[in-house]
């Protein structure tokens, strides 16, 4: 048997990929929500709930999400803000570098979000 196995894509694949890192991904309020623990900055060591829009995860893994959704009380000294479908939350424009070069895309994404949260006030 020489079947080419097609990878799963989209929200299902994103949730499954994050699940392997024990960050508790759930789909809620039009977002995939999960937990990240920053290693530096004001939130270092704290479990922060964050999320990405389902629409932005639909092309996973061919394109990563752009906006990082966070509770409104988390702020940055410089940021480009937009709305979030989750009440009390806002989304922040952040672009991940070198997408597709890491062996694990989910790990690269989580590292990106941890890095962003390292700059939170």
């Amino acid at each position: 048997m020489t079947l080419n196995v097609t990878p799963v894509t989209g929200v299902e694949a994103f949730v499954a990929a994050l699940g392997a890192f024990d960050v508790g991904p759930v789909v809620e309020s039009g977002l995939v929500l999960y937990i990240v623990v920053p290693v530096s900055g004001a939130l270092a060591g704290k479990a922060v709930r964050t999320g990405v829009l389902l629409d932005e995860v639909a092309p996973w893994p061919t394109a990563p999400p752009h906006w990082i959704h966070l509770p409104g009380e988390i702020t940055f000294s410089a940021t480009n803000i937009s709305a979030s479908p989750k009440p009390g939350w806002r989304s922040h424009s952040r672009e991940i570098k070198c997408w597709g070069t890491a062996p694990s895309l989910a790990a690269a994404w989580l590292a990106h979000v941890r890095g962003v949260l390292g700059g939170a006030q």
Binding site: T2, L3, T6, P7, A58, H66, G100
Partner: protein, 491 residues
């Protein structure tokens, strides 16, 4: 029907026996559902286990073999195909009564188990594939073609379903370059040009002039005065009448075509819109003449997921800060299984695809707040034909394979140093597009509503209601109809 060169080779290795006897095997496929055609993409072979088939001049097999393959297909959301060989056959094969009875007898069970129609395929001794799809009640329907896609490209035509266009007097010199057999194959290709701008329009015209019967263009943009320094055949009147670029393209293609029965099509869409992507699945080869990362990512995926080779090209001009010209480079590349994708090739960046898809490339307020540079607008019409020429050379190399050599690796020309480089790019180990090969309708969902395309169409429709524009368009239409009628009646 389409398959990779790898599966073609493995299928031929099994089906074309050294002892010259007929052979049989089963395969699995995924559908790729276009706007007007569905393509079955071969996903893998299910070779017979001992006792599942017998070779005795012809080949026969047990029903349990079909049930095994169909069950495997059902477990993976696939369909099943029944392949056999005609070792003495040449070209597209018809079916004998035994072939027909055998395939019909398994059409029902295959569809019941998999939910997909049975596909029948025959491999002739000259390695020409033929294919058909089965409806248990209505019988079979022959496929139009079978594409074999990889680093190279072959297409096997059904001469009944899609007959070769007659060579016209206008094509004599083109045909003299490569002969009637190549012209017959090339002229039947269904070719889509995405982006009817500087390069795309020029390129589409060349294809129509060369005798390609079905040339289609896709673009949602409107002709503006700023385009007139480079958009061939567009006029000041087109800009004043807010004509779409596809209108200009359609007019130019109709005037340029040399085939007796042209199939010129135009789509006022972005390939990033679901309808645009679905239309793109109706074509055998796509030219990517767009510069934004999102549409290039959509096309990049189709090259793998739906086995439609994409020929991509682009021009980058780097001015000095004091308005002098520092350099210009153009790159062209064929994207297909077995070749590096646009991301591995460094031509698109996933993060920029996401930003483009989020509409942020057109959001001036966002660009200002983020401190980003506005998208580059430099373009020189004198250099665009070089990109067109390089893309067309890649196309001819891919389809005609002069001297037996297919398309080269990605090419880059540097104007300042006058150097042409063959870029030795490899696919990355973690390439996310290659694993999508043959995914068909299971491809990643890159498409969605496209705000800029919708805005462009709405603005054009609003402008079309203005009295001057309505009057001007009516007059222009009358003149064009008269011109077309004169061309048809002239000796």
């Amino acid at each position: 029907m389409a398959m990779t060169t790898d599966l073609d080779a493995r299928g031929a290795e099994h089906l074309l026996r050294a002892d010259g006897q007929e052979e049989v095997c089963l395969a699995l496929y995924r559908p790729s559902t276009g706007s007007r055609r569905t393509t079955a993409l071969l996903a893998g072979l299910v070779l017979p286990l001992p006792g599942e088939r017998t070779v005795h001049g012809t080949a026969s097999f047990q029903g349990s073999y079909v049930v095994r393959a169909a069950s495997l297909a059902a477990a993976n959301d696939l369909g099943v195909a029944l392949l056999h060989s005609h070792p003495g056959g040449i070209g597209w094969q018809g079916m004998s009564r035994v072939d027909r009875d055998t395939e019909r007898s398994y059409a029902h069970v295959a569809e019941i188990i998999t939910g997909q129609p049975l596909i029948g395929m025959t491999l002739a001794g000259d390695r020409t594939w033929s294919a058909r799809t089965w409806d248990p009640d209505r019988g079979h329907r022959d496929a139009e073609s079978v594409r074999v896609v990889g680093p190279g490209f072959r297409i096997h035509w059904n001469n009944v379903v899609r007959p070769a266009p007659v060579v016209t007097n206008s094509q004599v010199r083109t045909v003299s370059a490569w002969g009637e057999a190549i012209q017959r194959d090339l002229a039947r290709l269904r070719i889509l040009v995405v982006g009817a701008g500087t390069v795309g329009l020029d390129l589409a015209i060349r294809l129509a002039q060369a005798g390609v019967q079905n040339v289609a263009v896709m673009d949602f943009d409107t002709v503006e005065e700023v385009n007139l320094d480079r958009l061939v055949t567009a006029t000041r009147l087109d800009a004043r009448l807010f004509r779409g670029k596809v209108y200009v393209a359609r007019r130019a293609l109709r005037a340029a075509t040399t085939t007796a029965i042209p199939e010129i099509e135009s789509f006022d869409l972005s390939v990033c819109e679901p309808d645009g992507e679905q239309l793109a699945l109706d074509y055998d080869i796509i030219f990517s003449c767009v510069d934004r990362p999102w549409p290039r990512a959509v096309l990049n995926q189709l090259a793998y997921s739906d086995l439609i080779p994409v020929i991509d090209g682009g021009l980058a001009i780097t001015p000095f800060a004091d308005h002098g010209m520092r350099n210009a480079t153009w790159r062209t590349h064929v994207i297909s299984p077995g070749r590096p994708c646009l991301m591995c090739n460094g031509q698109i960046d996933g993060a920029q695809v996401a930003r483009d898809r989020a509409g942020l490339f057109d959001d001036d307020a966002y660009i200002k707040r983020a401190g980003l540079d506005a998208p580059a607008r430099e373009n020189v019409s004198l250099l665009a034909p070089s990109v067109t020429a390089s893309m067309l050379s890649q196309f001819v190399s891919l389809v005609v394979a002069p001297g037996g050599l297919s398309a080269p690796s990605p090419l880059r020309y540097s104007l300042a140093t006058h150097t042409l480089e063959h870029l030795q790019v490899e696919s990355r180990a973690g390439c996310m597009y290659e694993p999508m090969t043959g995914a068909g309708d299971m491809r990643a969902k890159l498409t969605k509503a496209h705000a800029a395309a919708e805005a462009s169409r709405l603005a054009r429709a609003a402008n079309a209601r203005r009295p001057f524009v309505r009057l001007g368009r009516s007059a222009q239409n009358i003149l064009q109809r008269a011109s077309a009628a004169l061309q048809q009646t002239s000796p």
